[in-house]
Subunit: 414 residues, 2 copies
Amino acid sequence: MRCEILNIGEELLNGTSVNTNATWLCGRFAHLGARIVAVTMVGDGLNDILAAFHAAAQRADFVVVTGGLGPTSDDRTKEATLRYFGGSLVPVESEIERIRRLFADRGLPLTERNIEQGYVPDTCTPITNPVGTAPGMEFKSEGRIWLFLPGVPAEMKALVDQNIHRWFTDAESGKTFVADEIMVIGVGESFVADRIAPWQAQLPAHLALAYLPSAGLVRIRLSCFSEDAGHDRLLIRSELQKVLAIFPGEAFYTAMEEWNHHFYRVLHQQNISLSVAESCTGGYLAHRITSVPGSSSIFRGGVVAYHNDIKTELLGVPATTLERHGAVSRETVEQMAFAVRSRFRTHMGVAISGVAGPDGGTPEKPVGTVWIAVADNLGVEKAMFLMGTDRIRNIEKSAVMAMKMVLNRLATAR
Amino acid sequence: MRCEILNIGEELLNGTSVNTNATWLCGRFAHLGARIVAVTMVGDGLNDILAAFHAAAQRADFVVVTGGLGPTSDDRTKEATLRYFGGSLVPVESEIERIRRLFADRGLPLTERNIEQGYVPDTCTPITNPVGTAPGMEFKSEGRIWLFLPGVPAEMKALVDQNIHRWFTDAESGKTFVADEIMVIGVGESFVADRIAPWQAQLPAHLALAYLPSAGLVRIRLSCFSEDAGHDRLLIRSELQKVLAIFPGEAFYTAMEEWNHHFYRVLHQQNISLSVAESCTGGYLAHRITSVPGSSSIFRGGVVAYHNDIKTELLGVPATTLERHGAVSRETVEQMAFAVRSRFRTHMGVAISGVAGPDGGTPEKPVGTVWIAVADNLGVEKAMFLMGTDRIRNIEKSAVMAMKMVLNRLATAR
């Protein structure tokens, strides 16, 4: 299935809002095996929207459009569908009734404009919006499926989640989609590619391999549309087992979860509590851990010891250690990890100290040098990394590497 | 100037990497007054790339293309330019020499493929890449300017920053671009729009108004292409002064800097040191502060007091305060702010405690309730906010509101 994502809205073009709708939709559809051939963003001009419809029809047979369904004058998407697909606006009583109830529940006055959101072209099938006022619309035209969704992320996601399996079953004539993946942490993309090449060569032909890199990690996903889901699920698991064996201590089976959620789940299941002492990552590791709902069950807190005094005063790193070995050293992170573990009374203590850049590097410790330590009741694991020169990327990679070391420590030392 | 951004790369379509290049380029070009008419992302297929060239030529007179200039077989952009603009590959001796030096400096072996990066179509003007191997390319065709840039963000940005003013002067026949902006913090977008409507109605016609919202803040920017830059610069400043007066304590003149950088610069200039005690934001405020290079001059560190025990043990919040008023209360954040200020010996201490969600709300303190306090030698400022139900957005907004309270405290109390 060749799929195009089209996002409509002037706000996507002014450089302040990142188009997370596109990323989310790509993930959802790629996950189900669709091949995304293009993502396009255009403003609210009618001609720009129509030109984008024509371009999408050239390259895709499944087009997902978001935005421009609101009640104000700069919402032109519905008008564009009338021009492109023909037809005229008709009221959809069930949708109008739903909008009335929504306003009544919120105690808001209902205007003519709001009711007009319940009108859609008679050439489409309306799709109920479970959380907002504007219904979605589904068109079939010249063998192509077109979905029109609201641009508000929560509404868009709810609408997709309620309907996506129906769309895919339609499109793939009843076969079941099966997918699973592993993550490789801290290995460069090209090295991952080289090491899996022999395995890739022996893969059964009906399994699709996707290879999804982001900062510090690479996801390796296998999928297929299956007539025997039970069999293919086992086949995919056994193929992924082979990849895990290629990357001992570097690859994790994550059950299709995001890395932060996987990390949370492993610690939660083993009833492990954690604390962190961060220098160069400046709170970012704590932020990743606490971005997961429920993280208070595994995380008691942390110290951002940005200044050396704080390493000494709050974490008890002796001033002589800092003088002799420097803040970015094995000795310092070891003592930080032990100290935070004991002060916060957690099973594990994690410490990071490095030179995030762009300044602060020396010939011995260039920008990108990062020490990480993980302490528990059995001792301490530590490692040094040489990363790049990009401050934000160094911060992100350091957090991911620290999380990997925690999971490895849990898997081996206990 | 009608501008299109075209990003090439399979990795943009698989749902794991957000296309930050597009956002950055939109910001840079919109900043200089260009009207971005579309952003398109396509994969590495030659036909997809060529179709995207044709679509861009339909709607834009300035096309910026990123990606696909690397040395591997899935980098097809250069091949596409030969098909589209004609010509044949020729070596550019200065670029090949530069690539040789780059590899020699890094002690890496030079392959034929690397040298091929120094070949470009003889129909283009090469643009030296100050930080990487692949040069950029500039084509002029049918009155349109086409720029081809590497996809690696650091290389792309360096190349743009070195050349952007030249491109814009070419395109706008020598007029000078003048722009300036303010930021409104913590006021919803529609409320901002309502409050500036009368001011907007009296704006001189040659000034363009842009209105750039993101989590917790709205940027209001005025710009023009000017024949008398000195005069228009003063005019824009005086118009922005009027907007500042509409939003006392809520709007900031930021000299076109990002919010994090503005925050850093103000504290740095006033020689103020800061520490933070975070509960619901879990390290995110510290992360924002430390994302700015040089932030160690204003930031000594912080405590992520996620568990209540930590609030008592590390920050000395009495257990009775937590029992009587709860962790999310005026009393608790006040004591956290004073405690972190004194423990870290900083001019100011900031504390945040709230219910980020999605769980943990009560009828008295629903999800989205956040208390923030800012303490200094003169006392403490505190405020309660009722935010939404989205965990990540609540975390982001809380950090931005805390930074606003710090700047207000500096402006008024000292």
